[in-house]
């Protein structure tokens, strides 16, 4: 446990504390007055208000659209189910920048809807909400649907036999069992949308700004550190509260439910009602998830001279970007892959150690550590990135010019995923199997290799895949610390989008498509080795 704690202390707590301290500590005196001042500012109140209500609206909308999907994936068997399930999950591991870009291509100026019907949504909040649904659909389907598929349908049948109508049986038996899972999923969605950065940055324009975007603006553009510090604290408090709630519902979800093999509960839909529900879900998945992804690909191929790979070719030359880059954009692919590999390795080591520690010990301290591990998901990535810049630039830890800074920041976001994936599997390994091996003559190390490793190997691969995809798409922190001559894919996309001109726009689309493909491929590989036991996401 000491390793992960030290890691988090040095690379998470220290930078965040330093930047908050720098903001609030002027000339040796703590300026707590700033807190009231900033939080009293009408503009900031506006941001706080928007952040909260868009997160609530996004969560409600996601639940509304994804719950029927969860039911369909849990209870129905239909051709192409595996493929559809994978497709639904792709957005979750997509970089926010790509999601923003895809919706821009769909709903923005000159976007597909604009061309077809003259409809533009990029100036309205709807673009943000839809992008959030797109992004979080999988969270609901995975969390709720995963549990739903393991609920024994015979419980509902028992209620029917006792005289409950079909709806009453669902309401009295299934809904209470699903409740904690729905609550946990809602909280995750709320958390992700509350701290949304890339999507809002690209789609929000000047009109809409979340806390995270505002922190970025205050830090990077206005250089108003005190305001940024207060905002970071505000977000920190909100996220802490959300996480505490999440931990509580997750624990309740572990309450004794009788679970069965999901393969036994799904069957082919019967009757017009079930078929129309299925087609409704497939249609909504197509409209919300497949179309934006498709448009992204289409835009990347739609050059002024007709369809072709012009934009992709342009990525290879440095000058084409109009001086945006010191290196050809295509180099960003290679950079991203290298960073992501290193970040994955770090996340696996730290996350694996943390998960092992959490399995072996119990008590309030450990539960607190468990919750702490989730914090990087919610704490302003912008703050972390900027914190890295100002704290890790002097001895004993002078890493400012080192390439390791980027993977370190990305690993922070990957660790929670590794822990969440490994924990259920590690907990499922019966300690007495190790004892059985020891009695038969296996040394402790040998027993670990012979007993634990074969069981954990799959979960380890899944965790690695998640960490890889997440660090590949990390934007908020990377945008600060990636060096101009070594941009990552999301940073390159954002820079291209920030420039005018068809060529830049087309190149952004092309780069996003490449990023999407890399993420999708790693996800498809995961889907093949994924077991139902592994992972709470």
């Amino acid at each position: 446990m000491a390793g992960p704690v030290a890691f988090f202390a040095v690379f998470f707590a220290y930078p965040v504390a330093a930047i908050v301290g720098r903001g609030l500590d002027v000339g040796g005196a703590w300026q707590f007055g700033r807190i009231g001042e900033v939080l009293g500012d009408p503009d900031i109140l506006q941001v706080l208000w928007f952040t909260s209500w868009q997160a609530l609206a996004s969560t409600a909308l996601t639940l509304l659209i994804a719950l029927p999907g969860a039911y369909v994936f849990a209870r129905f068997d239909f051709p192409g189910k595996q493929l559809l399930r994978a497709a639904v999950t792709v957005p979750f591991v997509l970089p926010t920048v790509v999601v923003g870009t895809a919706f821009l291509a769909l709903l923005g100026r000159g976007g597909m809807l604009d061309q077809l019907w003259g409809v533009r949504l990029d100036t309205t909040v709807w673009a943000i909400l839809l992008a959030h649904v797109f992004f979080n659909y999988a969270v609901v389907v995975r969390t709720v649907g995963g549990l739903w598929s393991q609920l024994d349908p015979r419980q509902e049948e028992a209620a029917r036999v006792l005289g409950a109508s079909r709806f009453a049986a669902w309401r009295k038996v299934t809904l209470p069992a699903l409740g904690p899972a729905v609550a946990a999923a809602s909280l995750m969605v709320f958390l992700f949308t509350f701290t949304s950065f890339g999507v809002v940055q690209i789609l929000g324009g000047p009109a809409f700004s979340t806390l995270e975007v505002e922190i970025y603006r205050q830090t990077a553009q206005l250089l108003d550190l005190p305001t940024a510090a207060v905002l970071t604290l505000a977000q920190f408090a909100a996220v802490g509260a959300i996480l505490a709630l999440h931990a509580w519902t997750v624990r309740r979800r572990e309450s004794a439910l009788r679970l069965v093999d999901p393969a036994q509960t799904a069957r082919r839909p019967r009757g017009a009602g079930q078929w129309s529900l299925l087609s409704g879900v497939v249609a909504s998945v197509a409209a919300l998830i497949l179309v934006p992804l498709g448009v992204l690909v289409q835009r990347s191929l739609d050059t002024p001279g007709g369809y072709g790979f012009g934009y992709y070719q342009a990525l290879q030359s440095q000058g084409a970007g109009g001086g945006t880059f010191l290196v050809p954009p295509v180099d960003a692919i290679w950079n991203s892959l290298q960073y992501a590999l290193v970040a994955t390795a770090i996340a696996l080591v730290i996350g694996g150690l943390a998960a092992a520690a959490l399995t072996r010990r119990a008590g309030p301290l450990v539960r607190g550590f468990d919750a702490l591990l989730m914090l990087p998901l919610g704490v302003s990535a912008v703050t972390v990135g900027f914190g890295f810049l100002i704290t890790l630039d002097k001895p004993p830890l002078d890493l400012r010019s080192s390439w390791i800074l980027v993977p370190l920041a990305q690993a922070l976001v990957g660790v929670p995923f590794v822990v969440r994936t490994m924990l259920p599997v590690l907990r499922a390994v019966d300690g007495r199997l190790r004892e059985a091996a020891a009695v038969l003559g296996a040394s402790p190390l040998r027993a670990w290799r012979e007993v634990d490793l074969p069981m954990v190997r799959r979960a380890l691969l899944v965790a690695a895949g998640f960490a890889f995809a997440v660090s590949l798409g990390e934007f908020g922190a990377t945008v600060f610390i990636a060096r101009p001559d070594n941009p990552t894919l999301p940073v390159a996309v954002a820079r291209l989008l920030g420039r005018a001109g068809d060529l830049n726009y087309g190149q952004a689309m092309a780069l996003s498509t490449i990023l999407m493909l890399v993420c999708a491929v790693s996800l498809l590989v995961l889907e093949r080795i994924r077991t139902d036991r592994s992972g709470e996401f």
Binding site: A436, V439, S443
Partner: protein, 343 residues
Amino acid sequence: MLRLEGVSVRFGARAALDAVDLEVADHETVCVLGPSGSGKSTLLRVVAGLQEASGKVFLDGTDQSGVPVHRRGVGLMFQDHQLFPQRDVAGNVAFGLRMRGAGRAEQVRRVAELLELVGLPGAQGRAIAALSGGEQQRVALARALAPQPKLLMLDEPLGQLDRGLRERLVVELRELFGQLGTTVLAVTHDQGEAFALADRVVVMREGRVAQVGTPLEVWQRPASEFVARFLGFDNVVSATVSGEVADTPWGKVPVVPGALQGECRLLVRPAGVRLVPVDDGLRCTVRARTFRGHHVAVILEPAVGPPLEAECPPAEAPDAGATVGAAFTAGDVVLLPPEPDRA
């Protein structure tokens, strides 16, 4: 083979094992018998090295303090088998051989030999999940036997099996251990299992040894009220012995000549309670009767004293509600030491 000297284990304030001394000779089968929570499983874990304990454990005369689990060379069959789910039957049985660096050919030969021995020939390639409870049992046994441990320990070896299978396996196990000359230390809460399997029985109570003896000795002469009650004998009362008669709540009860005089506890085995005409014995009402196959257990409500259990042939069993007399046979009366800690 195995010797324990003053072995104690404490979990917090509770002593799971309290200064236990025990000896198991070569080729002997010893069964530790006791209710759950009496420290039986802890005893096996101490011998295997899975549980820290004070006191000394000797195997073949060598002190085992500081010897890690995997170097002790004992076999342990876990209560719920703990077969490795990701390996097939052969992979499980060969595990101990692999740990000892046995060659491929030897592994294959030994696995076939052992599966033959436990009555599962040709099961090498089967998945663990596809085995029935009884088959898992046999695989677990083969796995424990494969590395030829100097001492084989069994934790509730037949615990989860149904009755018929259990009775058959007890006989098979006994034959097998005799044939292999294995030294066995088993624990169980089932007296039938212990008596059928063991050369010697050790009865445990709250971490202490309550009685050691052959199955016959323990059955005939329980050393204490606890052992008597654990074996299912409930006809226990306080008594004062003078001469060949004991004074009890049930009246005068005959005892064998030479019995220790004075205050004691007294057990009458149900077989020693004879049903006689009302005027010839203690006047009782028949409260209940339970058919037990070769005999009927009759619960009597005596005019004085606590309820009394009697055993009688099915043909002679009185109906519930009948009034009968009860008389006692001296040979089935056992005198137990007074138990100060039991009211």
